[in-house]
Symmetry: C2
Subunit: 411 residues, 2 copies
């Protein structure tokens, strides 16, 4: 019998995890530099939280894992980190506001696997709760930008506003209750073609005339349309420049799929690889109110770690050392060297009592950077042999000089 992963999920090998961990370290450090603090919420949320009207919305609930636990409570796996944050804020009313939090964690969506989308993936979110100023929107965008810059990713920020979109919808005569439905279709523009989106809108019952008018307007990006929300977008542009960010453009065709957005919305795309957005977010001034009695404005952005992982080709690799035993009788001395080196380095040794040649094969297959060979005769002279696995060069050095020798190698 062959065993497999659950469809839409995957394992990550050590080489991949080294890269992922590098991304997370950079992202986490940047979040902290921008004054965000970390929280964690459970993967499991009550269904009544996830399905709250006007939270994520119908579109996302269709993709949400939902089940009864053993006491018949209806629960689900979170589909994002924003709705749980809203619940968290409602349950922690004494938090001094603004509350700038980050959270890094898995989310689950039962999406279309055929398009290479994972059903379990990692998000890194920053949100600012309790600040109505557009400065807060600029702050989350600046923070996300700096993280991506540190990762040397070439990107473009697309910004729009739900107010602009609502205003366009009003102008073409779409009733309030159908607006989200239209936006969910428009949101698919970076996954399917414009014609396919139009077809979807026709099939939802919107007329050719209305649909064409919508596309004319969202493709114009023009201030002359005289829509609401432009003032906000201009303010956001101003603040972004203050943070030295110039790689952004206003794009009326950006919609974002979740129902809870109320103001500016944004998305970050890679300039080099066409793999959808690598970050997305926006302002959601009404979401927290759904869980709390108070109206608390909020804005945030979510970095898609899996997507960033796909784009990133270069990252610093860790130097690892393998201590090889030339013969069994040096075992205790080798362990002493291993213990000493582990205070500063990443060190492994033979656990199987293999011959030296087999140990070298293993060290090679495992891509250790350096092998230290411990031999009986060398030990008598307080020496060991160091082999650089990349160059193949070997060198005998005194044991007492080993640490400083390796430290210099590190640079």
């Amino acid at each position: 019998m062959r065993y497999e992963n659950v469809k839409g999920t995957r394992d990550f090998l050590p080489k991949e995890m080294e890269k992922r961990q590098y991304i997370l370290d950079v992202v986490r450090e940047t979040f902290e530099e921008f004054g965000f603090v970390e929280i964690d919420t459970p993967s499991l949320e009550k269904w009544e939280v996830l399905s709250k009207k006007d939270a994520g919305g119908e579109g996302i609930l269709e993709e949400t894992y939902k089940f009864e636990d053993k006491s018949k409570d209806l629960i689900g796996l979170r589909y994002d980190l924003t709705v749980p944050l809203a619940r968290f804020v409602a349950m922690n009313k004494k938090l001094p506001l603004p509350f700038k939090r980050y959270q890094i964690g898995k989310v689950w969506r039962y999406g279309d696997v055929s398009k290479g989308r994972l059903r379990e993936f990692l998000q890194a979110d920053i949100d600012i709760v309790g600040a109505e100023s557009i400065l807060a929107d600029a702050e989350v965008l600046a923070c996300a930008s700096f993280a991506l810059k540190k990762l040397k990713i070439d990107f473009l920020i697309r910004i729009n506003s739900r107010k602009v979109l609502n205003s366009i919808m009003k102008k073409v005569g779409i009733k309030n209750e159908f607006v989200n439905d239209v936006l969910r279709s428009i949101d698919k523009l970076d996954k399917i073609s414009e014609n396919e989106v139009k077809k979807e809108l026709f099939s939802k019952g919107f007329s050719k005339d209305v649909v064409e008018k919508i596309f004319e307007m969202i493709r114009s990006n023009s201030e002359e349309l005289n829509v609401d929300g432009m003032e906000e977008l201009n303010k956001l542009s101003e603040y972004l420049k203050l943070f030295d960010i110039r790689n952004f453009k206003i794009d009326f065709s950006l919609a974002r799929g979740l129902d809870y957005y109320t103001g500016p919305i944004f998305e970050i795309v890679s300039k080099n690889k066409n793999i959808g957005s690598i970050a997305g977010g926006g302002r959601y001034d009404n979401l927290i109110e759904l869980f709390s009695s108070e109206k608390i404005p909020a804005t945030g952005i979510s970095l898609g770690i899996e997507r960033i992982f796909e784009i990133l080709s270069d990252y610093p690799k860790k130097k690892r050392i393998f201590v090889a035993l030339a013969s069994e009788d040096v075992f205790e001395d080798a362990i002493k060297i291993v213990k000493m080196l582990r205070e500063k380095f990443y060190v492994d040794y033979d656990l199987k009592g293999r011959k030296l040649s087999k140990q070298m094969e293993y060290a090679n297959a495992k891509k250790f950077s350096i092998v230290i060979i411990v031999g009986k005769k060398d030990l008598e002279n307080n020496k060991i042999t160091i082999r650089d696995m990349e160059s193949g060069e070997e060198k005998k050095i005194n044991i007492k000089d080993l640490e400083s020798f390796l430290e210099n190698l590190k640079v």
Copy 2:
């Protein structure tokens, strides 16, 4: 309406996350020093993997979250990181062995909430796959010990062997097929009293005579019992001493609840706080074979991060800086200072256009270590005011000296 967490799950506040992150950083660094490399596997596993006969066993399956996804596939949330590792190894046959991997992730068990046990909790596991030598068992124990030592936790390692327990069971006449059932009861010894365990065994149909004999033997810890597995335990003791580990004891009453163990088993308990084990594991030489056609020996240990979190009282706190604006007209200058400082420090500033007094209240409530006050007049002389929030001391310094001043404060 009041919203709540799913029963048995909890949120972690920023202060708690700073502590958790510190623990994870130390643990991760130690794992790497010992030559372990990281993998990740999905939270979701196929039910046929989790429920594989002789894997975790019946006891754990009763506590496992199980549900159908939208395509009616039966899946579950992993209850540990070991069974997924066995599947991973079976699916990656080209891995050079021994494979020393670590994994840090959430696991889910529908356990008894009344005893303060969480249903979603974080484990950090190290395992060595493909090494039959007891040296590998010593290696995982040494690694776990070093991580706990770095965290300044006072602990004791209890070691036993399934071979010892099986031998005892044989001596008192327990049939093979009932052994795991007996061990699952004995495993409860650190959660319920000896009398309650005995009662449970009576109710399972074992006679008073047999149960008393079992307890006599598991309480003896004596080599004179002449049971199998003692040679292994002595070898393990020897290796542990080689790694400078002396805080361990052989304890025949240690059973471990999972079915898959075959050799040495171990558990680490806190000396100061009675909160159950903070780490546990053992050798499982038959588990991987269940998923693969090959027999591949393995051993490992799992650190319970939530338990370590409970024990740890002291950890290094991060210094955070708040930049306060004395008046609105210094906004652009303040942003310049924020941008500069963020290259090295954790920096926040006012997002709400509040008065200075309100900003100071906020900085105080949020426990910032340092506040930098940017004022119009000071700026004219290229100065800013620095306030140490712990001592209350204030000092005016030149802006160009700001960075080096803060760096010295850090030490």
